[in-house]
């Protein structure tokens, strides 16, 4: 799952839990999944430094991503 998909799923779950007509059993299952997704999303938002690379094409058509 990409970060984008994870966040979209989180929004879906939050919206579902915000409704009162969801069966409790289902609400608990969704909440559990939501916690997992929340952890994933938070981990993806760590302070890791993004890289800047330059894509070069060597002779023979081989690609290289140079920092």
């Amino acid at each position: 799952m990409t970060f984008e998909q994870t966040l979209a799923r989180l929004e879906e779950i939050a919206a579902a839990l915000d409704r009162d007509d969801l069966p409790l059993e289902q609400a608990l299952t969704l909440f559990e999944e939501g916690i997992v997704r929340l952890r994933e999303a938070t981990a993806a938002l760590s302070d890791a430094e993004g890289k800047v690379k330059t894509l070069l094409e060597q002779a023979g058509g081989v690609f290289e991503a140079k920092e």
Binding site: F3, A16, D18, A27, A41, G50, V62
Partner: protein, 426 residues
Amino acid sequence: MTVPGAVATDAITVAQLTNEAKAVLEGAFPKLWVKGEVSGLKIYPSGHWYFTLKDATSQIQCTVWKNSTFRIPAKPTEGMQVVALGQLGVWAAKGQMQFTVTAIEAEGEGLWKKQFDETRAALERAGLLDPARKRRLPRFPRTVAVITSTEGAALQDIKSVLRRRNPGVHIVVIPAVVQGEGAPESLGAALARLDRWVRGEAEWAGPAPEAPDVLIIGRGGGSREDLWAFNHELVARAIAACPVPTISAVGHETDVTIADLVADVRAATPSVAAETAVPVLDDVRLLVAKLGGVMADGLQDRIAVGARELQRRAEALSQRARRVVERRRARADQVVARLVQRAPQLIERRRALLRQWAGRIDALSPLAVLGRGFAVARGLDGAALGRRGAFAPGTIFDLLLQDGRVRATADSVHTDAPHLRRDVLK
């Protein structure tokens, strides 16, 4: 000393003549603008252009060398009134005067406008300007590809804005020549590289970077000529075919290029493109935290609602149970009362039945016949001896009578007897 060619014995060659004429003409005329009507434009496989510039009474042969053609946005059409910048000379091979053109401007709106409109119309026909084609940009890209010149200020702007907003975003620059000769081809090649990268068709020396979620393509401000590569159909088509959503950022706010029309989103400047491409990291963190809160609140509310519901049901249930028990108890009381009431009657009916049955059993009992004067023979083992075969001469048996027993010994066994008179067949 005579001038060469002054006398027959001192004739010069044709080449000498034309070369001399060329030198004289080029020396006499600086580069200048000439206006006239274009006629007979031919483009040779070599890439050079040839045409005639003429007016009512005169004409001059014109050449545009291939390496000058990129400065001319569009091919002039037959009969078009233009002004051409060039150098007058001699075409030795034909012995003709020749005007070597390096720039052409149409009168009125100009060739730039003409080419822009033509390209735009071609793309429109191909359906590439359809607003329905515009893709939504990813909300949270992890990798941003940037196609621009590595020398321009645009790249620095884009990098610093992306970094400021989200230090975790990866940036992959695909360098391209963005102006001058070969710029459209260079931009096209960069887009082709991006395509191969995203489609996983590229071979990599070393690890391949994570595929980009979005592309920024553009350059900083410049003259109309500098930006012209972004009006090229080749570039426009490559942007339209880009496998990831595209943001164009060419020049300043007021510059609108064909690339801008084709891209999914047009940004006024490279910095704006970077702002459009990625959200601020802290905003995303806030959003994630908020979603966590909404989820927790939602569940808590849901549980509270569930608990209330449960309580309500439990109460309803206990009330119903009480009612059911009461109803059953009342019914049981009724049944018992009726039973008590009817008991003597029932018992009497049972007794009568019993008597009836007892009488019937009595009548069927073998012992009952003894009372009527009959006797029953019984072996010493107690078995009834009802048939002739049970006896043999000397068999000891008991004869049971209604008032006692006679121990007897069989004397002899016969088949004839008074009660079997009909049995004469034996």
